[in-house]
Symmetry: C2
Subunit: 133 residues, 2 copies
Amino acid sequence: MTLKATRSQTDVLDVLRQHGGALSAYDVLGTLRMTNPTISAPTIYRALAALAASGRVHRLASVSAYIAAAPTTVGNTAILSICDDCGLVEQNAAPDLLTELTKLAEQSGFSEMNDVIELHGRCASCVGSMEQA
Amino acid sequence: MTLKATRSQTDVLDVLRQHGGALSAYDVLGTLRMTNPTISAPTIYRALAALAASGRVHRLASVSAYIAAAPTTVGNTAILSICDDCGLVEQNAAPDLLTELTKLAEQSGFSEMNDVIELHGRCASCVGSMEQA
DNA sequence: TACGCTTGCGCTATATTATAACGTAACGCA
DNA sequence: TGCGTTACGTTATAATATAGCGCAAGCGTA
């Protein structure tokens, strides 16, 4: 477990923060290649893995993307609401719900839980703009 | 939206049921190729998409795998507990928790939610067999 | 300083997962 | 019969992710 952020990690995190929303690993790679043409996929994935392990980045497994953790979710599991139309991602801490979910798994003998909670749907703005259909 | 299961769908579902646990799409492909050497990836993915849409199969996004829905979760979203050691998957219906999660997203204006809930950890049996370490 | 350990990264290659695009066959129905 | 729809075959390729290996930098110890 690393204590200090490496150069790659800060670079990757900067790209994600700058963008705001979710990006694929290769989107990040493409962006970083503008300034560092020789950076490669394994470097990105290593940085993302470290950032995700320390809770500074959330992985969106259901869409193979990554997003910088919002201040309220840094270091924690986040409940991620994802708009299937525009890609907007909302981050939500909701510790009580996470506790309940973990309890559920522990009732079956599981332990050391690490949750992936991704809620797909349409955001308010996309539902609104469908009205014209 | 299809009403009747196609041949590919029943074949894919049979493989998943036979195996019991989670399989990657290419595992299913490999299995089906034993009896039908010309079946190809798109056919498998089309069948998996239809089966998942109708709730007969759950997609495990966080590990890129698929599993036949347990009787209690057919047609519904399932809370999936996944053992990171042995791959065991537990399926849990828990409709109240799902309702709460959906409500959470709806408070932010989201609608038409479709949830992905995957809890990673170690199953009882794997925790037990680590004791010798 | 010199040594050895650990960590991170470059780099190449490759594995794994998933879909695009197009044509054809089969089916149901007007 | 002719039309529309759906599923599938087929080829190719896109997109996502990791293995494996060697080098170099930093750190602690002597």
